[in-house]
């Protein structure tokens, strides 16, 4: 349809974020670059789509909940169809500072995928126990595959150029951790490059991450499982777009 105006699309996946999506979209619009904003409403039962529309975003309404992975692939598909050169994911809960969007996008100068990472020296964010081990383990293994040092691979604050968008449209799993870890492993196996950009994360505007030890242990197990599958899959078959 219409040609992309600013050629950068900010994708905001939102599921029942009626309270925070409005302020987040307004904050992104307040940035001087004037990016197009696409809120992907992941089957919300509250007023998320209305709030997003009122705030001035284009809204993609999924008919039912698909999970972050599903919402993001819909966003990337939209970006591809509308000819955007770059797309960046920004969470609706206010965790990602819109002022850092430009910083993360700058990472695309040197790589296909740019990840805004939490504990790269900036800001204060801490995780403890099994959750921390899981993040360490994921970071270590993925750094190996990527050939560059990554510290925060589960960060949803990530940007993609055209090559990465095409790759994501082809393969972007909806499974647990699939949207962050599996999609990254697959993109790397397809020959894409990744870079990490340090950013500060803010406390979430609403809700908080589960911190109980059992949940964290389950998280560790599931991440080991997801990572092993992703790595095995990547080595076995090359399902990526050709460079």
């Amino acid at each position: 349809m219409s040609a992309a105006r600013s050629s950068t699309l900010v994708i905001v996946p939102a599921w029942n974020e009626g309270e925070s999506v409005g302020p987040t979209v307004r904050e992104i619009r307040a940035q001087p670059e004037g990016w197009d904003i696409l809120v992907v409403d992941d089957g919300s039962s509250d007023d998320t789509p209305e709030q997003a529309r009122v705030a001035g975003a284009t809204v993609l309404s999924l008919p039912f909940n698909l999970g972050v992975g599903g919402a993001m692939r819909a966003g990337f598909l939209y970006a591809q169809r509308h000819g955007y050169a770059r797309a960046i994911q920004v969470d609706a809960d206010g965790q990602h500072n819109p002022r850092d969007i430009a910083v993360v996008l700058d990472g695309l100068e040197v790589a296909d995928i740019s990840i805004g990472a939490r504990f790269a020296e900036v800001g204060d964010y801490s995780a403890r126990g099994p959750r921390r081990w899981a993040m360490r383990m994921l970071a270590t293994v993925l750094s190996r595959i990527a050939g560059t040092r990554l510290t925060d691979v589960t960060s949803g604050f990530r940007a993609a150029n055209v090559r990465a968008i095409d790759q994501y449209v082809l393969y972007y799993p909806a499974e647990y951790l699939g949207d962050t870890v599996d999609s990254l492993v697959n993109a790397l196996h397809a020959g894409l490059t990744v870079v990490q950009v340090p950013v500060a994360m803010r406390p979430r505007a609403a809700g908080r991450p589960s911190q109980n030890p059992l949940g964290a242990a389950v998280y560790l197990l599931r991440s080991v499982f997801a990572l092993s599958l992703a790595i095995t899959r990547g080595a076995a078959s090359k399902t990526g777009v050709r460079a």
Binding site: S61, L62, A74
Partner: protein, 134 residues
């Protein structure tokens, strides 16, 4: 008596499968495994001696154990097949959901633009086409 019951059951299973196939309520790819199971059931019901021979041949002590083992294998196969098909169907549904969402957003934009154009060309009518943005 038990032989007759066995045969009747096997015939019933086969009949249900065939009827469902004829009515197009069961797709062929699912029917294959069920037909296999129904036929095996029928053969064993008609010739119980076959089961005894097979039990002997395979070195299984009790014929019933062979039946249980075989039915387990077949049922696991059916369950696995269904899970596989369901995963595929879910992926297809996901693609469709994404497509409909994008189509809806694009149609919204078009409807708004059409509205604006029509309003510009016919200033007397407030909303001639009746297409309002949702």
């Amino acid at each position: 008596m038990i032989v007759v019951a066995g045969i009747a059951f096997a015939v019933l299973v086969l009949a249900i499968i065939v009827v469902m196939l004829l009515r197009r309520q069961l797709r062929e790819k699912y029917a294959t495994l069920w037909l296999l199971i129904g036929l095996a059931l029928l053969i064993i019901s008609v010739f119980p001696g076959l089961l005894l021979q097979l039990t002997h041949l395979l070195g299984v002590e009790v014929p019933a154990n062979l039946i249980f083992a075989l039915s387990l294998v077949l049922l696991v196969g059916v369950a696995l097949h269904l899970s596989w098909e369901l995963s595929r169907a879910e992926e297809e549904i996901r693609r469709l959901a994404e497509e409909t969402a994008i189509n809806r957003a694009d149609i919204d934009v078009l409807a708004r633009r059409l509205d604006a154009t029509e309003r510009a060309h016919k200033p007397r009518d407030a909303n001639p086409s009746g297409t309002a943005e949702s």
